[in-house]
Every structure is written in structure tokens, then in C-alpha cells.
């Protein structure tokens, strides 16, 4: 059987089995992800050997559904599978006390399968389907604790925002297929001209929605209402990554104008969401804002014309961010919450977990020799080498500085405070998942050269020293600022703005959501009036029918039945005469004869 099919079907089959059997969700989900991981690794080793896998399924006429395992897609598939397996291991411990493990595991596996399809998709139609599927399953996962207040609204918001942005993808795909006449992604990448600019911008809109870029970043922080493993999975290698993956895969097609827009959007996002993270009062929301910020950096790298740098940062960030979320989940269990007020000193409760968390945080900030250093360095080098170096490089450096500052802020709050010793159920499983991801976050940098050879691309080496010096100094100064000065003081007058998410959410609400709601209400009113009209017609018909039935029943049927009833009554009366008793009948005869006699003869007596 094809390895691609196994990579996708293993989690899916496991999900179906869990739903059918309704037992052993942990073991089945681990089994499904492990088989998927093995298949993905098989695809990757094939790709290293130069063998590209492909799977063609019957689809629309002239547009078969393609699944391809090029070096890039095989690499991404492996990344997804690796993060999935660690998150699954962690989830075994995290969900130990939850009653709905079956639903949780099944949805998580569905999500994993959808993500594998998205990553491995070789044509736009399948990619669209997978894109929708991850949107749906992320909605289910974010709304997993739907009974808690605010969770459903967070899930709905995430779904609506990404869904609205998805319209961009639909139109873009339509343009691409209409222009090139093929739904194969590889074929469409060769197109150019004005259609490519428009399609590229629309793809950017879709990516902005999924990757939570400014001004659509608000849903991601609200999505923290879901369970922590979900956040870890969504934010690292899957849902949010889908936007960046889309742009990385289509990068060869994008013309310079579109690239510049992408770079600016990414740059603005990395700064704005970095500032939001600095002013955040909740660990998970801080990490969510940081995710937006890091994806901003990736878009910036794509915009600078080096999608490889974006890919490397995506890989490093996947391991780092899921490790950070897993650590945050442990702290959440130990203090029953994720606000910084509750978490003060939580790092001292679990020093080993804190050590892993801190390693991941330093990796994200870009401290050598951790993986984040290499990828961030590549992004800064790419921005310096681009044609708009001053703009993109300043965004990139500001983003790096802010990354260091908010990560140091989180570490400082976690470390300074009182200890509270408390036992956490399932800590072993959670620790195992965390340890695996932290190890990846630390050592991944060593694999970057082999990834470069795999993709037959290399990073620009010219200004690498300058980039390293600039990046490292920005990261270190950011860390120092964040550790020694509180985030509130760092932000200064920007603090209220940052805590309100730079009013972007409110602006979106007022500009887009209110009119949308108004239209929806109008439509509802119209529909209601139509509905009452239809109902009135129906009621009229019903009444006519009822009248006809009345006439039928009372008029015609009544007459006939009255006749029948009369006949039956007459028969019954007549039957009582026919007693069959000879004496009675004889007596009646005698009496009758006497009566006849009397009638005939009594008049004779008188006249």
C-alpha cells in the first residue's frame, strides 16, 4: 500500500475505531499516530533517496485528486506527524481526569489526518477540502469544553474569521484553475502576469486568516479556550501553520509586488502581536500572540524572497511552540489557571518542566546553539538581502527583540514567586511529551543543512555575519529587557493599546461584524415574512381541504350512512319478531287472528 495513503489513513482509521469501540482511546490514538509517523518517515527517506511518491485518485473530469510526496511535502508531513505523536503522548496525561477522552482523541486524530491531507495534497481541490477539514476540526477542538462560559463564542469566532478569510483561497483557486486549466499545484505554479498578482494577494488573505496575521490575529488568542494539547497542536505545525505552508508552497509563483505586500503584512504582524504579547496577562494568550508574531516573521521571510528561511523557522517554531504550550499546560494543571497572577513562581514547583520550558523559550528568542537561532538568523539574513532591506530588516529585528522580551517576561514571572507543591496526575506522560519536543527544539538546528540539501536550495551566505551579530544582539537585549523590566513598564503608553489588542478586534467588530450582523438580521426578517407568507398559503390550503372534508363527511357520507343505519335498525327491529320459538309465534298468530276476527265481526254486531 502507498505510504501516502498510510500516512493519512492511519490517524483516520484510529479515529473511526475509537468512535466505534469507545474504549482505549489513548492506546489507539498513539498507535494511529505512530503508524502515520512511520509512513511519513518512510516518505521522507524516499525523498532523501530522490524518489518522489504520488497517489492519484479519481476526482473531477480532467482534474484528478493528487497526493504528492515531494521533498517539501514529505518534510512537512514528517513534521506534522512528529509533533502529533508528542502531543498525543502529552494528551494522555493532560486528559487523565477528563470524562470525554473518546471525543477528544477522535477529533484530534481527525485533525491530524486532515492536516496530513493538506500537507500532501498535490492539487488545489484536495487542498481546499483539507483546508476546510482542518477549519472544521479546529472548531470542534477549540470548542471541546463547550459547557464552559465563552468557549463556544471563541470557537465560533475562530471558525468565522478563518472561514471568511478562506473565501480568498476559493477565489484564488478559481483564478488559478481558470487561468491554467489545471488543478495540479505544480502546473499552476508556472503562471505569471496580473492573474498571479491577484491570486497571490487572495492567497495571502487566506493565509492571514489561518496564520492569524494582523488584522485577523484576534481569534487565535481567544482560541486558547481549548485544551492545551489542542493549542500546542494548532499553533505549532498544523492549523496556524497551514497559512504559512500555503505561501511557502506557492512562493515560486508569487510576483515581486505580492511578495512585498506579504513581507509588510508579516512585518506589521510580528511587531503588533509582539507588543500584545508583552502586555498580556495570561501565559497561554501570551504564547498565542507570540505564535502570530512568529508566523509574521515567516511571512516576512517569504516576502523577502527566501521561502526556505520561512520553512526552517516553521519547523523550528513547530517544535519550540508545542514544547512551550506543553509546559504551559503543566503549569496550568499545577495552579488551576493560566493567568500570570496565579502562575507566579509556578516554575519553582516543577523545576524540571521549567528547565524544558526555559530551553524552548531561549530557542524561540534565538540563542545559539538552539534551533531558533539558525532559523531566525536565516530570516534576518534574508530580510537584509532583500530589495527592501531597511523596511523588512527593521521589522525582523524588532520582532526578534520583542520575542526575547516577552519570553523573558514569561520566564521571569514563572520564576519569581512562592512555591506551591502539588501533585499533578499524569505528569509522567506530560513530561515525556514535553521532553521529546524540547530535545527537538534544541537539536533541530543541526539538521538544517541536510534539509537544505534535500530541497536543493541554500541560504544566502553573504551578510550572514552581520545578520548573526544583529540578530543575537537584538535577542539578547530583548531577553535582558524582559527579565529585568516588567512588561507593563516596557510598553509605557502603549500598554492599554496592547491590552486591547490595538483595538483591532473592536475595529473588526464595528467595521465588519456589525454590518454583517445587520445584514443577517435583515435577511432573517425577510425570511420570516416569506415564511409567514408561505405558512398563510399553506393554512389556506389546509382550510379548503378541511372544508371539503367536512362536506364529504357530513354531506355525502352522512346521507349514505344514515340510510345504512336506518336499514340496520329496521332489520334489528324486524329480527326481534323472528324469535324462532314456536309458541310465541303461534300466540302471535292466535292474537292476530282474534284481532282480524274482532275487526271483521264486531261492526256486524252493531250495524
Amino acid at each position: 500500500m502507498n505510504l501516502i495513503a498510510i500516512a493519512i489513513l492511519a490517524p483516520l482509521v484510529a479515529a473511526v475505531l475509537i468512535l466505534l469501540l469507545r474504549r482505549a482511546p489513548a492506546a489507539l490514538s498513539l498507535l494511529g499516530t505512530v503508524i502515520g509517523l512511520i509512513a511519513s518517515i518512510g516518505l521522507l527517506t524516499n525523498a532523501f533517496a530522490g524518489v518522489a511518491g504520488a497517489l492519484t485518485l479519481p476526482g473531477l473530469p480532467d482534474m484528478p485528486l493528487l497526493l504528492v510526496a515531494t521533498p517539501l511535502t514529505a518534510l512537512l508531513s514528517t513534521l506534522v506527524a512528529v509533533v502529533c505523536i508528542f502531543v498525543m503522548i502529552y494528551a494522555v496525561g493532560y486528559m487523565k481526569k477528563d470524562d470525554e477522552k473518546v471525543r477528544f482523541s477522535a477529533t484530534l486524530l481527525l485533525f491530524a489526518a486532515a492536516m496530513q491531507t493538506l500537507v500532501l495534497a498535490g492539487d488545489w481541490i484536495l487542498l481546499l477540502a483539507a483546508w476546510e477539514l482542518i477549519g472544521l476540526s479546529s472548531y470542534l477542538l477549540i470548542g471541546f469544553w463547550y459547557r464552559r462560559p465563552g468557549v463556544t463564542s471563541a470557537a465560533t469566532r475562530a471558525f468565522m474569521v478563518t472561514r471568511s478569510a478562506d473565501l480568498g483561497l476559493y477565489i484564488a483557486v478559481f483564478i488559478l484553475i481558470a487561468t491554467t486549466g489545471s488543478s495540479d499545484i505544480a502546473t499552476t505554479l508556472n503562471m505569471g502576469g496580473s492573474a498571479a498578482i491577484v491570486a497571490g494577494l487572495l492567497l495571502l488573505v487566506a493565509a492571514m486568516g489561518k496564520s492569524a496575521q494582523t488584522p485577523l490575529h484576534d481569534w487565535l488568542q481567544r482560541a486558547m479556550a481549548g485544551p492545551t494539547p489542542v493549542s500546542a497542536l494548532l499553533h505549532s505545525a498544523t492549523l496556524v501553520a497551514a497559512g504559512a505552508i500555503l505561501l511557502i508552497r506557492t512562493a515560486p509563483m508569487l510576483p515581486a509586488e505580492t511578495l512585498l505586500v506579504i513581507g509588510i503584512v508579516g512585518g506589521i504582524t510580528t511587531v503588533v502581536t509582539g507588543l500584545i504579547a508583552l502586555g498580556e496577562n495570561d501565559l497561554k494568550r501570551l504564547l498565542a500572540a507570540s505564535t502570530s508574531s512568529q508566523y509574521g516573521l515567516m511571512l516576512l521571510a517569504v516576502g523577502a524572497g527566501v521561502p526556505l528561511a520561512a520553512l526552517l523557522h516553521l519547523i523550528a517554531h513547530a517544535a519550540i511552540k508545542s514544547a512551550l504550550f506543553l509546559g504551559a499546560g503543566v503549569f496550568q494543571h499545577s495552579r488551576d489557571g493560566t493567568t500570570f497572577g496565579k502562575l507566579e513562581g509556578a516554575g519553582r514547583d516543577q523545576p524540571r518542566i521549567f528547565f524544558g520550558f526555559a530551553l524552548a523559550a531561549l530557542a524561540l528568542a534565538g540563542i545559539p546553539p538552539l534551533s531558533g537561532f539558525f532559523s531566525k538568523d536565516a530570516i534576518i539574513a534574508a530580510s537584509l538581502a532583500s530589495s527592501d532591506a531597511w523596511l523588512l530588516a527593521s521589522f525582523a529585528l524588532a520582532g526578534t527583540l520583542l520575542t526575547g522580551a516577552y519570553m523573558a517576561r514569561a520566564l521571569s514571572i514563572l520564576w519569581h514567586g512562592d512555591r506551591q507543591k502539588r501533585s499533578i496526575p499524569g505528569l509522567g506522560w506530560m513530561g515525556a511529551g514535553l521532553a521529546g519536543l524540547v530535545t527537538l527544539a534544541v537539536i533541530l538546528g543541526a539538521f538544517f543543512p541536510s534539509i537544505e540539501t534535500l530541497l536543493r536550495a541554500s541560504l544566502a551566505e553573504d551578510e550572514n555575519t552581520l545578520a548573526q551579530i544583529l540578530g543575537l544582539s537584538a535577542a539578547l537585549s530583548g531577553l535582558a529587557l524582559g527579565w529585568f523590566i516588567s512588561g507593563e513598564r516596557l510598553l509605557g503608553p502603549l500598554l492599554p493599546w496592547s491590552q486591547r489588542g490595538f483595538a483591532v478586534a473592536g475595529g473588526m467588530d464595528n467595521l465588519l461584524v456589525r454590518p454583517a450582523f445587520a445584514i443577517a438580521r435583515r435577511c432573517e426578517k425577510l425570511e420570516r415574512s416569506l415564511y409567514t407568507g408561505v405558512l398563510a398559503v399553506g393554512r389556506l390550503g389546509l382550510n379548503i381541504g378541511r372544508g371539503a372534508r367536512f362536506g364529504d363527511e357530513r354531506g355525502i357520507d352522512g346521507l349514505i350512512f344514515a340510510l345504512v343505519r336506518g336499514t340496520i335498525n329496521l332489520g334489528n327491529r324486524a329480527r326481534t319478531l323472528q324469535s324462532g320459538l314456536i309458541h310465541r309465534e303461534m300466540a302471535i298468530t292466535v292474537v292476530g287472528a282474534a284481532l282480524i276476527f274482532a275487526i271483521l265481526f264486531i261492526p256486524l254486531l252493531f250495524f
Binding site: 329480527r575 323472528q578 320459538l581 309458541h583 300466540a587
Partner: protein
């Protein structure tokens, strides 16, 4: 009217009354038929009396009585046939029990 005629008519009426009483009071089919015979006998006595004392020259009266006697014999044959058949089938000729033909 001669006294003989009156006596004959009284005899006929008495026979008729006894016959009606017997037919109504008895439950046995055979007895009921005997009552019916008496009724007919009463009627025949009346007829013969009127013929003998009022129109002895007209033979129609005699003919009437002969025909009635024939009919009586046939009726007896049929009635007893029914009674025997019923007795064989049901083991009794009690008419209170014979309600099978009740409508």
C-alpha cells in the same frame, strides 16, 4: 236454527278451543300437532254442520271436508317426518330448545 245445528256448532267451537289451548300450552312437537289437528277438526265439524243442516243438497261442503282431511294427512306425514328427524338429530322434540332458526 235447529237445536242440532247449535249443538254441532258448540261441539266444533269446543274442539277448536281445546285445540288452541293444546297447541299453545304443549312444548312437545307431537302434542302441538295434535292441538293443530283438533283445531282443524273443530273447523271441519262446523263445515259439516252447516252443510248437513242448511244445504244438504249441495255436495261442495262434503268436498271441502274431504280436501281438508287429505291436507291434514299430508301435514301429519310432513310434521311427523320433521319430528323424527329432529329426534334422531337432537334426541328430543321439545320446541323450547329448538331456536336454531332464530333470526
Amino acid at each position: 236454527m235447529s237445536i242440532e245445528l247449535l249443538l254441532a256448532l258448540i261441539t266444533g267451537a269446543a274442539l277448536f278451543g281445546v285445540g288452541i289451548y293444546g297447541a299453545l300450552s304443549q312444548t312437545n312437537l307431537v302434542m302441538i300437532m295434535m292441538g293443530v289437528e283438533l283445531i282443524l277438526a273443530g273447523a271441519m265439524v262446523n263445515l259439516l254442520a252447516f252443510w248437513r243442516y242448511l244445504h244438504p243438497d249441495n255436495p261442495a261442503g262434503q268436498m271441502f271436508v274431504l280436501i281438508i282431511m287429505t291436507v291434514m294427512a299430508i301435514e301429519m306425514a310432513v310434521g311427523f317426518g320433521v319430528a323424527i328427524a329432529r329426534f334422531r338429530a337432537k334426541g328430543s322434540v321439545e320446541m323450547e330448545e329448538a331456536t336454531e332458526l332464530k333470526g
